[in-house]
Amino acid sequence: MRKRKINLWGWLWILIGVSYFFVPMIGTFEFSLRAKKGELSLLAYQRVLQDPNFIRTFSFSIGMGVLTIIASLLLIAPTVYWVRLRLPKLRPVLEFISLMPFVVPAIVLVFGLIRVYSGGLLSLTNTVVGTDVLLVGAYMVLALPYMFRAVDTGLAAIDVRSLTEAAQSLGAGWGTILFRVIFPNLRAALLSGAFITLAMVIGEFTIASFLVGMNAFGPYMSQVGRNRTYESASLAIISFALTWLFIGIIQFIGRGKPGQGQVVGAR
């Protein structure tokens, strides 16, 4: 039997990649344990978790994230589906629009939003609810590239047209087609888009600090980083752990029923 050759170069690059990722994290973690002079302790974590602002800002950002996800999915999933089904020529236009948030800096976006929605008929910044609505709207724009790509890739993996027509011929209307045929088969794609959006909203600083200030998690993390050295390191590790927790949850939910995500067609 032929002996398998070990690819040393391959392993070297993997090692470099893993080190690049883990060494700073290990360093940060080690640093976060040094809040008590002369010994390693979880004091910094204790302080962070006991700070009522941590829970308050984190809950607020999670809430904004969930609202952004719901609103984005309701807007983007049917739009991308319809473009794939009936208006395929518009797909490049949609793709171009989805890239705009990468071109327009968040600071420009937030100034524009404040200017437009601070007076006149759509005066949203005068009330707490209005500001939150504006924040969700801004996050929807920022999430557009990720959400669009996730949904578009998911739709590319299924035979959208045949599934739609099969459902139509069986008497289904658009609502049934979307919610019982198309979306269940996009489960993994929708969840990955949702996760990226949530992670982005939790850590977002620029827009949150101008619209809601210290109510959001991003500005809170920034302030902790400025004032409390060890706590900022522990906060970084906590947010990292929470991120992984969300990945785990999404992986768990995303497994779905057998057969979901299978591509239809000849075998």
Partner: protein, 362 residues
Amino acid sequence: MSFLTLTDISKTFKDTAAVADFNLGVTRGEFVSFLGPSGCGKTTTLRMIAGFETPTTGSITINGEDVTYRPPNRRNVGMVFQSYALFPNMTVADNIGFGLKVTKRPAAEIRKTVQEMLDVIHLPELGARYPYQLSGGQQQRVALARALAIHPQVLLLDEPLSALDAKIRVELRSEIRRIQQELGITTVYVTHDQEEALSLSDRIVVMNAGRVEQIDAPFRIYNYPSTGFVASFIGQLNLLPVVVQDASAGAVACGGQIIRTSLSIQTANGEAVRLAIRPEEIKVAPAGAEAASDNRLNARVEGVTFLGAIVRVRAAVDGLAEGPLLAVDLFNDRQLVLPKPGEQVALVFPPHACWVAEHSET
């Protein structure tokens, strides 16, 4: 009276006419196939019946009701797709029961119908499986059951066997015909496979470039093609260059050898036309053999190909140096003496087996 009627149907995509002047009446319980090459408009016509395309002109009626502009989900027409289009997130039973759930039938009725349909397609145990756990043939049976479960007025099948391998295709072909006859459902079947169309259909609509070439029973389509396209598209056909010798007597000359047809020819004497003969109508006899009242062409064997049930001989007709090789199909049997390449033979066929193809360029 026709159950499904298509009257003066045409469909134009921008400047391209996909279907033109299409007229068809299908009686209740009839099995009609649309047959033609790719791009001939057969699928477009089927999609207009299903409601996925709207005709540019004309009307479609089912059971006397005009459905031309009715959306597909309100036509009660079952459709089977080439790609199966089973819902991947649902089990086989859920797929079959989908149409009934949509129309809010009672759960007990849905369960009963699903089991009946699983029995009809001979897969009674597979209700709990997911589509990806089935073979291609099984998936297509489920797709058929799903389309039938809603008790559609018309069943439409769009090249349902194209994605399957040859053996499964033949098996499933018989299954489709059996189920269609058992249920007596009016069926329109689209295919580019002439064997499928000939074996399944009560009538075949042969289409070419968006137009109907001939609508007839399979026997007549094959033996009495009404246009040159149908003659050349259905089965194998030899087209020999000949010159009309005596139009009223139906005599032509091929490389100096006289051939008689059973009908008079509608072309002037001396005109160059093409003579059509099916390969299976020709017999190979030893050179110099008498042929009584049959036509007899001297030829030289150029090649012999063994195809299993038949043996195809290709022969060059004497006096036709530049002409095409004539294909002759011999039914295989163990005693068959195969002619050898280079051997001189006589090709024998009766006058009624050949006809002048008017559209000789096809």
